[in-house]
């Protein structure tokens, strides 16, 4: 198989690293070679947080870093952070899966006025596929706004060719018993959201939607890169 390239982005405290890890572990469970990368330390104090996950055939994944223009999916837990990594997307087949949620940077002067509220329209205008999901609101409805990350990974799961049972096993293993049931519900809610906002697609077996306005209708398949 081709290598699948994913980027997870958000704000420190949103649980970016957790869902990157869930995805990487699920890919391991499904028998793939996996590399993941993240940066710890100062960036976790309310700053931008990103993690790359790549998976594919055994011994075929060398670099942990996704190359620009080759990401199949960028998962943004916040709009500005989704925008920040949008240029990593494969311009033809990539999808930005973004939580329809804004967090104004706290240590930037007049940030509320400067915040790019129109970012997703801007990216659509650039021809990128953008899927906005109300993950934070949905998580609140489920009783805990902090589960937006798990809702987003649920939505992602509907786009990747990784078996659902592997996702569920990973979640059960990784999430503490106290929060397990709620998170499993959040995950399934995310899977449904993804379906509601467009047909689920896999990483193989479907043809990309060629050209045109690609922010409506069925999602195009995210195709892995070919450089391996």
């Amino acid at each position: 198989m081709d290598t699948t390239n994913l980027i997870f982005a958000g704000v420190g405290g949103q649980g970016v690293l957790l869902i990157a890890e869930l995805t990487a572990q699920t890919a391991v469970r499904a028998g793939h070679d996996v590399k993941q990368t993240e940066v710890h330390g100062v960036s976790q104090r309310g700053g931008s947080v990103e993690s790359h996950v790549r998976f594919g055939d055994a011994n075929a994944v060398h670099s942990p870093l996704v190359r620009a223009g080759q990401a199949d999916v960028v998962v943004g837990l916040e709009k500005l952070e989704g925008l920040r990594y949008a240029d990593f997307l494969n311009p033809v087949t990539g999808s930005l899966l973004v939580n329809d949620h804004e967090i104004i940077p706290g240590s930037v002067a007049n940030a509320a006025e400067k915040y790019p509220h129109h970012a997703m329209d801007f990216l659509r205008h650039k021809g990128l596929r953008v899927v906005e999901l109300p993950a934070s609101r949905c998580a609140k409805d489920l009783g805990d706004g902090r589960m937006a990350n798990v809702i987003m990974v649920g939505a992602l799961s509907a786009l990747l060719a990784l078996p659902e049972e592997d996702w569920l096993e990973t979640l059960k293993e990784r999430i503490p018993a106290k929060h397990r049931e709620a998170n499993l519900r959040a995950f399934q809610a995310g899977r449904r959201l993804s379906t509601d906002f467009g047909s689920p697609f896999g990483l193989s077996g479907m043809q990309p939607v060629a050209g045109g306005h690609r922010d409506s209708g069925p999602l195009s398949p995210a195709k892995g890169d070919n450089h391996d």
Binding site: K35, Q36, E38, V39, S43, P64, L65, A86, D87
Partner: protein, 593 residues
């Protein structure tokens, strides 16, 4: 064989455990911190945080001379602190295996400089290992310990941020117990300063043996693709000499090139490298950091190489950067949206409820010059506070403030965290008192090493293994240094903090304010542990004066109607917003029901 997804740092810890390491020490520092945190989970390993890197190194040195297998960890600037023993230990040589992890940070993700510590190892005449993935992070520990014992030398393993924090699949093994080697006190060997001239030739002889070892060790391997061993360079043939995680980028970007993958980068295998260069028309040298390998090749007379002139010396490498430098593979047109839309930066900031906030609010209002130090509080230099004016290295706040004062800047405050004070601040304070300073020092005492993720230190009361430990009495320590004016305040009582710092500034003698309050990220600070409730805004009392917004708490945002609203999931009940509210509209949620 079981394979697990491990980070480079987790794999190093696993490798140390499997290879029979019995003692491990270090000081927290990104990107090295997780090694000891993971190693501490194994009951067979005596793992500890030390007061600073120099002490950690010396404790490890003693344990290795005493016959144990030892791992010592630190970030790259930590080795500057430990450079004193690092330069001398090789003269005596080790007994038990001794591996030092030096974690470099190309790109300065969490550091104040870029520093390629292979040059420190060159100075110390110590061999350097550079793994290139998580599996090698594990395997090279055992390799390094054996190399260390075979040549009686400390060994440095250089990691980088991307290597330390990336994850890959690692095949796990079992622990091998290694019995303690016998230690014979030998004055002529271990009393280096007195018998230095006896030991000096031994260092060179060892290096010569290691140079031969470098030619044959399997961790220096050539993957022949574009040419063959001994062949003359074919037209267009490309070879790459690389080390560390850059090897993975090369594999990704240049699949057709021959690759000389160096796992041992000091000393270098000169003969093999010359042969490799001769077999290719063009040789790229791809190494993160300085031109360490490249300079060596140049000294050997190689003329067909391209290194830093193409790839650059500043910052972190990536597949994209290497591809752009050689322009070998067409890359997708790189879009740069930041030119067309406000891609606001998102710098880090103080956490919700952080006790540092009141201190920086006072310093901002007092308009004093602030000499800062290394820790979360470097963020006091950022808006909205902009109240930390110098920051250099661990413990530098006090000496810098002293110097500023001598230069005539009387209203200068030094600010330092408790862990950093223990690490390198104490001698500076003793010196300031001794040399007649009138400085004001604020110690932010949050009972932990905050920035690196809440590691205990001698003032915290527990060890890395979670055992209770004697708690360093900071007040007594400061008084013992000769400071008579010492005030201790609750860091969340903003008026008290202001009064104390203002009073300290009026003293004509050294004055210390200890702003005390545990880091909100410590488990004992959870609301449930403190039987506290989150705070809420009573809109019927709120006049929208915006005083609470001036606390700059990330949990306080604005409703559509313009009222402040506190995120009850994030609120830590630090009470500071309630203290500034003139109409008592803010209070704990349970008092409002």
């Amino acid at each position: 064989m079981t394979k697990q997804l491990l980070s480079g740092n987790e794999a190093i810890a696993r490798g140390a455990w499997e290879a029979g390491v019995k003692f491990a020490s270090g000081y927290p520092g990104t990107p090295s911190t997780e090694i000891l945190e993971n190693l501490a989970k194994y009951p067979e390993v005596d793992a500890q945080w030390s007061a600073n890197e120099k002490v950690a190194f010396e404790e490890g040195m003693g344990a290795a001379i005493g016959g144990l297998r030892v791992l010592v960890t630190m970030k790259m600037v930590g080795l500057n602190v430990a450079a004193d023993p690092f330069m001398v230990f090789p003269y005596a040589g080790t007994n038990g295996g001794f591996v030092l992890i030096s974690a470099d940070d190309p790109g300065m993700h969490s550091s104040q400089n870029e520093q390629d510590n292979r040059y420190l190892a060159l100075m110390a005449k110590v061999p350097v290992l550079e793994p290139s993935d998580a599996q090698e992070c594990k395997d090279y520990i055992e390799f390094g310990l054996e190399l260390s014992e075979a040549h009686e030398t400390p060994v440095m393993m250089r990691t980088t941020t991307r290597l330390a924090h990336h994850k890959g699949l690692v095949a796990l093994g079992d622990r091998v117990e290694v019995s303690r080697k016998e230690f014979t006190p030998d004055v002529k060997r271990f009393s280096v300063p007195i018998y230095r001239k006896l030991r000096r030739p031994e260092v060179e002889k060892r290096l010569e043996r290691l140079r031969e070892f470098a030619e044959s060790t399997p961790i220096n391997r050539v993957e022949w693709r574009a040419s063959q061993p001994g062949a003359a360079a074919a037209k267009g043939s490309v070879g790459v000499v690389t080390s560390g995680i850059a090897y993975q980028y090369v594999r990704e970007v240049m699949p057709a090139a021959s690759v000389f993958r160096l796992g041992l980068t000091h000393p270098l295998p000169s003969r093999s490298l010359i042969e490799f260069c001769a077999a290719h028309e063009t040789v790229y040298v791809v190494e993160e950091g300085e031109a360490f390998i490249e300079s060596h090749l140049a000294a050997l007379g190689a003329t067909n190489m391209i290194g830093k002139s193409a790839f650059g010396v500043i910052g972190e490498y990536s597949p994209d950067r290497i591809a752009a430098a050689i322009a070998a593979t067409p890359t997708a047109p790189m879009q740069d949206f930041s030119k067309e839309i406000a891609m606001l930066p998102r710098p880090p900031m103080f956490c919700v409820g952080c006790g540092h906030r009141t201190v920086f609010d006072v310093l901002r209002q007092l308009k004093v010059t602030v000499a800062g130090d290394i820790g979360c509080y470097t963020m006091g230099a950022l808006p909205p506070y902009e109240a930390e004016h110098t920051t250099f290295c661990m413990g530098a706040s006090i000496g810098t403030a002293f110097g500023l004062e001598r230069a005539g800047h009387e209203r200068t405050v030094a600010i330092i965290g408790d862990s950093t004070f223990v690490h390198a601040g104490i001698p500076a304070l003793i010196d300031a008192v001794f040399n007649g300073s009138g400085l004001t020092l604020v110690i932010l005492d949050n009972s932990t090493t905050g920035m690196t993720g809440q590691q205990p230190h001698p003032g915290a009361g527990t060890t890395l293994k979670g055992k209770p430990a004697p708690k360093l009495d900071l007040e007594a320590m400061v008084r013992a240094a000769g400071v008579k004016q010492v005030q201790i305040v609750d860091t969340w009582q903003r008026k008290e903090v202001g009064r104390a710092i203002r009073a300290a500034l009026l003293q004509g003698e050294p004055s210390v304010v200890i702003a005390r309050g545990p880091c909100m990220r410590l488990p004992e600070m959870k609301l449930s542990e403190r039987a506290a409730s989150p705070y809420v805004v009573d809109e019927s009392l709120c006049t929208k004066c915006d005083a609470c917004f001036k606390v700059w708490c990330p949990a306080i945002t604005r409703t559509a109607e313009g009222f402040p609203i506190i995120d009850t999931l994030d609120c830590t009940a630090c009470t500071v917003c309630a203290q500034v509210c003139p109409t008592e509209a803010i209070g704990p949620v349970d008092s409002r029901q």
